[in-house]
């Protein structure tokens, strides 16, 4: 077989296996937690409707709910049913917190907020961090480079949620200029009006900033060291000897080579974004999947929790697979081997 085909096949098999293993671990891990979601759900229903069924009826109701939620049979049967539903029908099962809406529909409602807030912030941070880091590395002895670098070094050592606390404290309370809870002003109805969009931006500012500040710092540092390593390379000397302009050497020779590892780094950081969204969205009550995840855990909503975990595993592994497959296209030095 040709090496390219062999490489891609191997990589794809590893990809499928990782997803399968990781989701299996998640499935069993969550079910190992002691707790009785059906009991909790039914007592909640009873409290809502102030209805007390007899023992025989109650058992029927419990059995029916167990069937609907995919919780009948032993753990292994549940697991097989779970896999069957996902693969054949792309169905995660109904959510407990928003019955009878299927979990995937519920997740789809919350997902755009997370992608909008943290996906956007991550891209901004990556672009900004790489530009700044490259400049700081390129002119590493300049007056403005050093302070930026030290600032970044300091910021990158601090977990992002402390930045969030400081931002909430200063802008939300001391100066009281920015909102710290929710995604838009509660009296507005989502539409495309100017007022709504400004409110959207205003409410996204603090959560986004607490994520961007620390990750920009991280990208600046890694990009800077990448550029500095490249500075000593012979091909830069050669390009200079050819009489190329400094700006051209920077863009086409130094930056281009340094960007490759940074792109892989971005794919790797996606998992961190999801973890970050969990803390940030809960701190700012921002209605993304991290927030939904918090609610779903509180209600023992197996299907929703599992769905969110699956999506994040899927996103991270897919990004890594794409990166691995595309890498040789961007970087001609790398050939598909073994």
């Amino acid at each position: 077989m040709r090496p390219l085909v062999l490489y891609v096949t191997k990589r794809v098999i590893a990809y499928v296996l990782t997803i399968f293993l990781a989701s299996t671990v998640c499935f069993f891990l969550f079910r190992l937690i002691p707790g009785n979601p059906i009991g909790a759900y039914i007592s909640m229903l009873m409290a809502q409707q102030s209805y007390l069924p007899g023992a025989e009826e109650a058992r029927k109701v419990i059995l029916e709910y167990k069937r609907v939620f995919g919780l009948d049979g032993d753990l292994f049967t549940q697991y097989v049913n779970f896999l069957k539903e996902i693969i054949l029908n792309q169905n995660l099962g109904p959510s407990f917190i928003n019955f009878p809406k299927p979990a995937q529909v519920l997740i789809a409602q919350y997902l755009p907020w997370t992608i909008g807030l943290l996906g956007f912030s991550a891209v901004i941070a990556w672009v900004l961090g790489n530009i700044l880091g490259a400049l700081v590395g390129w002119k590493k002895d300049s007056n403005w480079g050093k302070p930026i670098f030290y600032l970044a070094l300091g910021l990158s050592q601090i977990p992002f949620y402390f930045v969030a606390i400081v931002l909430i404290l200063v802008f939300g309370y001391m100066l009281a200029v920015l909102p710290t809870r929710g995604a838009y002003a509660p009296w507005l109805v989502p539409d495309l009006s100017f007022e709504f969009i400004t409110s959207l931006m205003l409410y996204a500012l603090l959560p986004s900033l607490s994520f961007v500040l620390t990750s920009v710092a991280g990208w600046i540092i890694s990009m800077r060291s990448m550029i500095i390593t490249i500075l000593g390379e012979d091909y830069l000397l050669f390009a200079e000897a050819k009489g190329l302009k400094r700006s051209r050497i920077f863009m086409r020779y130094a930056l281009r080579n340094a960007l490759l590892p940074q792109a892989t780094g971005f794919a790797m950081s996606l998992g961190f974004i999801f973890s970050g969204s969990f803390v940030i969205e809960n701190m700012f009550s921002y209605p993304g999947i991290g927030y939904l995840f918090g609610v779903a855990i509180g209600q023992l909503d197996y299907n929703t929790v599992q769905g969110i975990l699956l999506i994040s595993i899927f996103a991270v592994t897919t990004a890594n697979l794409l990166m691995d497959l595309l890498y040789p296209l961007i970087d001609p030095r790398i050939r598909y081997q073994r």
Partner: protein, 306 residues
């Protein structure tokens, strides 16, 4: 002397050598010095907390309610004021520091111990062990750790300090193992290891007498990283109100202070002090690690150019 005795003496000897080297490097490198002084001061503060609070509260527990007047503003007797149930906030912060430090240090140590053993098996023995380590770390990298920890924290309401630390260690050891394994791979190619092999030293002899002493700085860096990893996960979960309520760490205290409306009341000082202490832990360990890296990894110094 039997093998066990030899092992202990050689480990002790290398530890002593490391301590001597560490003191030298502490003086050589400002970052290591500032970092370790700050870190050991925090450890000392956490260790002395029971005595300090014994004096401050004349023998009462810092969590005992109704000890003082309620919601006092900061004053000389109560530098951070009191909360709505009449507890002195400075005492609570100190107790929180103790809990946070205990969890971080225990889980950091356990994670490092596991990481070193696994890294030796994978890095030195190689083969199937290396494959196993790689696939375990790869899977753990893909599984979203934070949410998993959140799931556990949400349901395990009653848990003691030690179990909690163990749980955090389970999540953090793979990272330490990866760095240490890479270092073992380089060290085992060294000429003196070949020499030891030719002179007939056993595998264990090579591991403990030749490789381990040279590995110690990296073990300290791994310990620092594992410690910060545990603290990072623990504090993040506590900030959003998850985890056992009876263990009041610094992260949980910040969450409680916000829930008690300290932000809206404009009483910022307890929140600022608690956050500052947490940041200080991270910064001091990081400084220590960066300094050690510079001394023992001179190639890195050229790159970071610090």
């Amino acid at each position: 002397m039997d093998f066990g005795g030899k092992l202990i003496t050689s480990t002790l000897r290398s530890l002593a050598r490391f301590a001597r080297g560490f003191l030298t490097y502490m003086r050589l490198n400002t970052k290591t010095m500032v970092g370790s002084v700050a870190f050991f001061s925090l450890i000392a503060l956490a260790a002395l907390e029971p005595s300090i609070n014994y004096i401050l509260l004349s023998g009462h527990s810092p969590t005992e309610m109704g000890l003082f007047e309620r919601t006092l503003l900061p004053s000389f007797e109560h530098p951070l004021g009191t909360d709505a149930t009449g507890r002195d906030l400075l005492s609570l912060v100190l107790a929180g520091l103790r809990f946070s430090m205990i969890i971080a240090v225990i889980s950091g140590s356990v994670a490092t111990l596991v990481a070193v053993s696994v890294a030796f098996l994978a890095g030195y023995k190689g083969g199937i062990y290396d494959h196993i380590l790689r696939s375990v770390t790869d899977t753990i990298l893909v599984i979203p750790i934070y949410p998993i920890a959140a799931i556990a924290a949400a349901y395990v309401r009653r848990i003691d300090l030690f179990t909690m630390s163990m749980f955090l260690a389970v999540l953090t050891w793979p990272w330490a193992a990866r760095t240490i394994r890479a270092q073992i791979l380089t060290l085992k190619e060294m000429v003196y290891v070949d020499l030891a092999k030719i002179s007939g030293l056993s595998d264990y002899g090579i591991m403990f007498r030749e490789i381990l002493p040279n590995l110690l700085p990296f073990i300290v860096v791994g310990f620092g990283n594992a410690l910060m990893g545990s603290l990072f996960i623990e504090t993040g979960l506590r900030l959003i109100g998850l985890g056992p309520t009876e263990i009041m760490t610094l992260g949980m205290l910040v969450n409680l202070l916000i829930n008690w409306g300290f932000l809206s009341l404009g009483r910022y000082s307890p929140i600022v002090v608690t956050t500052f202490l947490l940041v200080l832990i991270f910064v001091s360990v990081n400084l220590l690690n960066i300094g050690l890296d510079e001394v023992f990894n001179p190639r890195l110094k050229k790159v970071t150019g610090l």
